[in-house]
Amino acid sequence: MAASMGRGRGGVTSFQKKARAKTLQIPGTRPSSQGNQLLVSTGVPSLDHIIGGGVVVGTVMLVEEDSFGSYARLLMKYFMAEGIMTHHPLLLSSAELHPKQLLSDLPAPVSDDIGKAALNQEEVSLEKNVQKEATMKIAWRYHNLRTEQPELGAFSQFGHYYDLSKTMSSEMRDTAPTRLFYLQDELPLEKQGVWTSITNPAYIKLLQSIQDVVKEGQFDLTVPQPKDVPRTVLRIGLHSLGSPLWGEQDSGSSHDSSLPHFLHALRAVLRTSLAACLITIPTHLFEDMAFTRRLEKLCDSVIRLESFAGSEKEQNPAYKDYHGLLYIKQLSQANCLLSYMPDCNDFAFKLRRKKFAVEKLHLPPELQDSQQREQDDPVAALKTPSASCFNPSVKSKLDF
């Protein structure tokens, strides 16, 4: 990739290489520790922390949506809001909601450090009020240690904090040039018939639109640019791609390969341009797991959201603090041999009134032995794998 190591704004080190390499200093990005990469923030600092610092410029990040799509939409809003704060141009596409509707509901940024600290403080004090701290008699050395876990990514200066209870003002929103792609406008619904060809015209139009924006906005790295033009990174957000409104037909056995073609072509466009892309796909609608795997392999970083809303996991006491689970399926491996390895693999997210945060999933401690038998304890049921002779939910004659 032609984007060589540069010192991003809010730089971490004052080290400067002696070589006369072209340093690309783009506001809102920072160099990655993994390789010769530039990273942009997703807008949620805790999510940035677990995927290795942010989304690598030139790659595609796939978010597999939860059952009702609300948290994936929230992540898309954070991504766009971050783009506006760092003055990156945006390209947003959607089929169900008009992109203007998504953009009108972006979270407002918390303006300064005092505000940020106040945001964190409010959450912490809410939790502390629940239990009074008893002075410990025997383990008194632990009395001075903090009880709450430090928030992931709290110490990095990359990424902004947002307040979900307020929306971003329209003047701030207008500062970043945005390009919208609403499927209903580009391909009017009444003219859409049954698509029998292998290539879905909706994806072709979307790809054309992305290529046009990349060329016009001079994000293409293969074309030499004059030195005085300031470079910036384009943020592409494709909301709910692959939903039935995009013509994705799931006949149970096979999908046509338009969406994999599109993702392949998208990656080719992105690799040679200064752009980062976030796609959300409702993969829970696809019955064929192999199709989902193909889509995952064609994207660089993949995370999956699973929300507890409306499912039986909502009542599980182990999950009572969280609103859903987050699985990291794949991390970007562009230009390096090994991707970033997170130290743990169980993450959960919670949506508070003002903030969306990702945390490590901790099972609560088993303090009482009120559950006499382990199969009655839902917490223990999480730990034991289901491939055992005890199956607590189904009583089969083979249980012993």
Binding site: I138, L189, S243, P244, G247, L285, E287, D376
Partner: protein
């Protein structure tokens, strides 16, 4: 919840009633039809599986426009066609909004009841139906501005695979699944009743899932009641009384109150240092600090700290 959606207290733009062989969804659709004719200015009924008369009893007929998809959907009797009535053709992709726009009276807001999506889903792929429904829901954004306030559709769960159901569930704001419970709907003077599970998604993002029992009176009004799920006995049943370890012993293990108080005042060996510091303020440097207090026998010699030189 079903009653609230029916009456309009819970706003829901797309309601899908999924029924099965044992539990027919037509009475519920009929109730929706009659209730919507009271609430909205105009109701468009697309009946594809049953004749319109089955839905019109007890409703305000002047407000209901029926679009006939039942009599001759595949255009076999082209000559005998009555061109005045509006008919739905299954030979071309479904276009609900187009049919609505063709009706002469332009009343707004409009409610739509679709008897069943099954004949359409059998002819066309799922995404075509989703697109037609989406167009109905977004009708407000089109140029002539008809506003569709609510769409109610019937769906036969037994006839379609899970992926089609999943795609529709993704779009629907309320999904009513009629269940084959022990109480199947009985006809007769008492009306209909049965079990259902309602999954309702509010605009704020909150999802509510409830098991309910509904009852339809002979005048086609629906009442529903939440049915509490039986509590799982294993988790919340009464616990066995804990065996008291201090009973039935030849020696005394119990403590009197004064003894308990004296026990709490005993200074344990490692507690001693705590008295010296203020325990409430967290330490500036987390971690331990070492306080060394030499004993009487400690002979701390600077020149020979290990005390092993032997001259």
């Amino acid at each position: 919840m079903l009653q609230q959606v029916l009456e309009g207290t819970e706003a829901s733009s797309l309601v899908v009633v999924e029924d099965c062989v044992e539990h027919d969804g037509r009475p519920v659709l009929h109730c929706f039809c009659s209730e919507l004719s009271k609430r909205c200015d105009s109701v468009h009924l697309f009946h594809l599986e049953n004749p319109a008369e089955g839905f019109l009893a007890g409703a305000n007929i002047s407000k209901i426009h029926s679009h006939d998809g039942f009599s001759d959907p595949l255009r076999w009797e082209e000559q005998k066609r009555d061109s005045s009535a509006d008919r739905i053709d299954l030979t071309s992709p479904p276009d609900f909004l187009g049919h609505i726009k063709k009706t002469p009276s332009k009343a707004s807001p409009v409610a739509v009841v679709i008897d069943s999506l099954t004949p359409l889903l059998q002819k066309y792929p799922g995404y075509v139906i989703c697109r037609a429904l989406q167009r109905l829901l977004r009708a407000r954004l089109e140029s002539d501005g008809t506003e569709v306030s609510q769409v109610v559709a019937g769906f036969h769960g037994d006839l379609h695979d899970n992926s089609t159901a999943a795609a529709l569930r993704h779009m629907a704001t309320t999904w009513v699944q009629l269940q084959e419970g022990a109480e199947s709907p009985t006809q007769g003077g008492a009306g209909f009743h049965g079990n259902c599970e309602v999954l309702h998604r509010r605009k704020s993002g909150k999802v509510i899932r409830q098991d309910e029992v509904y009852h339809i009176s002979p005048q086609w009004s629906l009442t529903s009641r939440v049915q509490k799920t039986p509590v799982r006995p294993a988790v919340q049943g009464e616990q066995e009384p804990q065996a008291d370890p201090t009973a039935n012993l030849t020696f005394n293990l119990r403590l009197t109150d004064t003894e308990k108080e004296a026990r709490s005042r005993v200074v344990l060996p490692y507690m001693h240092h705590q008295r010296k510091r203020a325990p409430d303020r967290p330490a500036a440097t987390p971690g331990g600090q070492i306080f060394y207090q030499p004993d009487d026998v400690d002979d701390f010699d600077e020149e020979d700290p290990d005390d092993d030189l032997d001259f």
